[in-house]
Symmetry: D3
Subunit: 230 residues, 6 copies
């Protein structure tokens, strides 16, 4: 259930029965052959499936994140950590002020994680009646297990992000050898070493694998939503 599908009277009614909300964060950055917004599309699809089951609201996602390593790839837009922290802080504080006292941030982009978790704890410290959850679908043990069950390695922009809803073009067959890139290389070095943008492994998996993989993510998120309620 998307907040944007409600008017304020609808939110007022919702807050009488629940105080949970999901905020999706991600990035507008290269994902090889996949959508530049894969880091929003994947967690949003998972959130919609999970929140459907739990009857939980989803706030509008934050589409721009911290991606300085990829700005040499057309279409990547990165914001500074200070800016991202300020935006997240204002939005989370705003949700708390509205009465959303249990907030699950579902983050689709690794570069945001350190800032997000710090700001969430700071807000939570300032408001003892709140509870903040943090969910990253692709790092959840259940989801990793699903990947391992398929015998496929998990890397940025490989099969593990290649869903019907993130696919915008054909992807190559075959495996890519994972390149070795220092974590704080410049964006120029990243592009020189990374080529098409995938971090390696197969570019796609069978529909069946993807369905089980997605289902694991939804299950994991449902669990987080329930834990938040407890």
């Amino acid at each position: 259930m998307l907040l944007e599908d409600l008017n304020w009277m609808g939110v007022e009614a919702y807050l009488k029965r629940d105080d949970r909300i999901v905020l999706v964060t991600g990035a507008c950055e290269q994902h090889g052959y996949l959508s530049l917004l894969a880091d929003i599309r994947a967690p949003m699809a998972i959130a919609q499936a999970a929140c459907e089951k739990e009857g939980v609201l989803i706030a509008p996602p934050l589409p721009y994140g911290v991606s300085p390593y990829f700005v040499t790839y057309p279409g990547t837009v990165s914001v500074r950590p200070e800016t991202f922290a300020a935006m997240v802080r204002d939005v989370i504080e705003g949700l708390v002020a509205q009465g959303f006292h249990r907030i699950l941030v579902s983050n689709g982009h690794g570069g945001n994680a350190g800032i997000l978790s710090a700001v969430l704890i700071e807000v939570s410290n300032a408001h003892p009646d709140t509870q903040m959850g943090f969910f990253e679908w692709w790092r959840h043990p259940k989801v990793i297990a699903a990947g391992e069950a398929a015998g496929l390695p998990l890397h940025h922009a490989n099969w593990s992000e290649n869903f019907t809803f993130t696919r915008v073009a054909d992807v190559p067959d075959g495996d890519k050898a994972p390149p070795d890139i220092p974590r704080t290389a410049s964006a120029a070095t990243y592009r020189a070493l990374l080529g098409d943008g995938s971090f390696g492994g197969p570019y796609h998996a069978s529909d069946d694998v993807m369905a089980r993989y997605f289902a694991a993510a939804v299950d994991a998120m449902v669990e987080e939503l329930q834990r938040l309620k407890a």
Copy 2:
């Protein structure tokens, strides 16, 4: 054409033939009986129609804006002017760095306008090879003329924002008398004086009126996109 429907190779190809892009900004705020995201949904619908004609890319929209007057209405999330300025600055600078040298910001929310136009000019002053455009569909003379042609007054959250794509519930019939609220009243005063959130006038218009009104907005935006190219 949405940026998110492309991968980076697609953007690379696009930048060889065009350097325009549209960024939609709005707000997550009460709109009476209409969607809390009306200020994104309306300019996005207009942008998609106009950009389809002009073959121009649309970046992911910024869903949160400056709406301190409405935070007493459930679902309204407002960010501070400083935060909004920093986010817009980073995103616009990021687009310029990517080669988008002609950027049209289509702003759907009045509270953002002063900050947006200042930041756009500052970025433009710093990059002499760029050209920034600013479009607010509901303030465009052509659109105002279309409203006047229908004999209907234009107010926040009345018929003039009530499209099929912003409607999430039934709206009342009849006219609301426009309340008189000081511009810098607190959010508590706004809610006390504004009631259901509409600034008055009729809550809906005929499909025919809405179609002509929408068409005027699309025409106006096409014109802006062409002027930017010239």
Copy 3:
């Protein structure tokens, strides 16, 4: 009554009988043939006349505003929106902490308006016992009516800002055709299209017209001061 004409004992005494104060904001920017500080001088003159009648204090004005479009004109100094917001926030919060619970910001410069009104509402939301007013003399219906009664168009740096107290040199006779400049043009474009800096229309009006026009502004401000007290 200027705050600067008092010592702290004088303010202490004032606060026992009134809690209103006026803060004038403006810009240091080109005004064609007129003073670079026209946006301070005009609202200060109006404020002094209006506050004289109402016995209200006037705080020292903020002389620098957000004017990125004019930095190509010598003498124009523009501050970033983030800086202006921080300064206004600190000053308004400081006044509230002093016991000035009803503050009328009289803004002389359009480029400041969006930031000012947002910050004023945020401060008001944080302090439920305060009331913020916002006055822009040149946009007040009574003042516009006075201009229309004289049959003269209102534009930046034309007759409508040409008072004895803003005039620093001779101005041309005759009418200037208003140029058409995109709102977010760069400062270089502004100067190329705007020439002498006036936005068009006659450069001066008769003393009689100016007196009636000024009187309308004072009346309008007195009304705002009274409304704030009510």
Copy 4:
């Protein structure tokens, strides 16, 4: 010569013959029986006399400074160091961009000094063709000598700030014993220990002493203006 007495054409002409400008900074804070704006009025009077002799322009002064120790005195408004630094930085950068390459900041308030000098040097480091001067009239050796010649101690809000242009009420006769206040005491402690706001010594001096004292300040500033030109 005040910038505000010119239009942009006047500044353009000025910049062809000189690139110096004076920026006065001060505070809106208690000065005992004297004007709350004494820290602006004194350096402005001195600047006007000195700049008259040297034919140098004076920019509009910044009336609010960093005065957290006095906020318990009615009429004192203090801004945060971060805000003051940002405002000074933007204004100085703006003046440099306009072609004012030799800027003399005349600071009337001790609490601003550390931030001002740091920002001035940072701007100067970034623009090798500029020269920044920093003048604090009351700390200049010539001015201190003039005070000592009169056999009178120099303290905040005593005779040494009591000019015709800072006096707004009668001041007591006699000497006040200087209180001993820890530098970083809270504003509550300051008020408890400081009483009427003067830091002690006589409240006034003879017109003759004040004239010689003022003349020393003007001489000192003329010297700084000439050194800047060299």
Copy 5:
């Protein structure tokens, strides 16, 4: 070799033969029975050993980091992400301006990692002639392997941080069962669930194990320093 053991002439000489420098970042936060500065002491000890071998300079460390989860434990001081980012940015930019074009940040505290790596890449993007390295000793594969070789689990404030130079009191014998704490729990929840502050496992290991573990960290860092030089 510590920067603080040199004067500026010494640094000038150093920069003629090398342009590498190490910056250690950490936290002032609870480490169970260990020193509150364990996150500085461990990476500093490792850096001193590694830099000794490579003849590389070490800048003064940043002792405060982002630790909002532990502020309920006495002695923990956490700074906001925005503040940490600004400080790191200024220091790294300052080092680059000094001619240190290859900088290895050795981060001792997980909560800093996301911000640090983002800022390092942003600085590197802005200065194409620089190379930034990022080293976290406890996450390095060689160090993890050394821990696994000893058959001991790695957790915050357990044996793996218990060196002679981080030990300030006796530690318990025996194993602690690792608690399960949500990542974004509030500091109150952290303290309630975490008790003595250790995340579990044995509190100490034999001197022999610690020596091999430390040696692995030094080896890993030497390798990073050499890679940076290449």
Copy 6:
């Protein structure tokens, strides 16, 4: 007693008997022939001696300060005033939140003073139950008296900072004539006029003089610590 020599249980115990703590601030900047960290080493040595007597805790020092005038000297790293203010504010607020209600900031670097004292007072105003002290050893009357007793002038990087613990190389014999440098000169001018970095006078004094000078500083600081307790 250093905070870093304790674990959190140790701080918890300390806070039951005392709520004082010392925070040393300084700079990483040229000191002529002396250590680049002289502004930390000197106040730390004094603090350790004084706090030993008083049984007071010392927090980890902030090694980077505001030193824009010296960035042309290798090894000098300066942070912006805004950054320094934010860092100090976060650390002091963090200490207050931990229960350290009487904080003595011992500042070793003149360039930090204005910002530090402002932030300390602001924090103190916000927390009426706290008391902030500010100590600068080299400006304390007792220490100046000790210097004068030795008949030696006090200047940056001369004998008065040349202790065994700040000395890292031989220093010249003889006296240096103090250069005359405008306070807000650029770093390039500073280096041109200042040469080896000392502000003049003798480069060293006898061990006996240094011992008495150091003892005066320790005495002065003990007094400040006691005054804070009272």
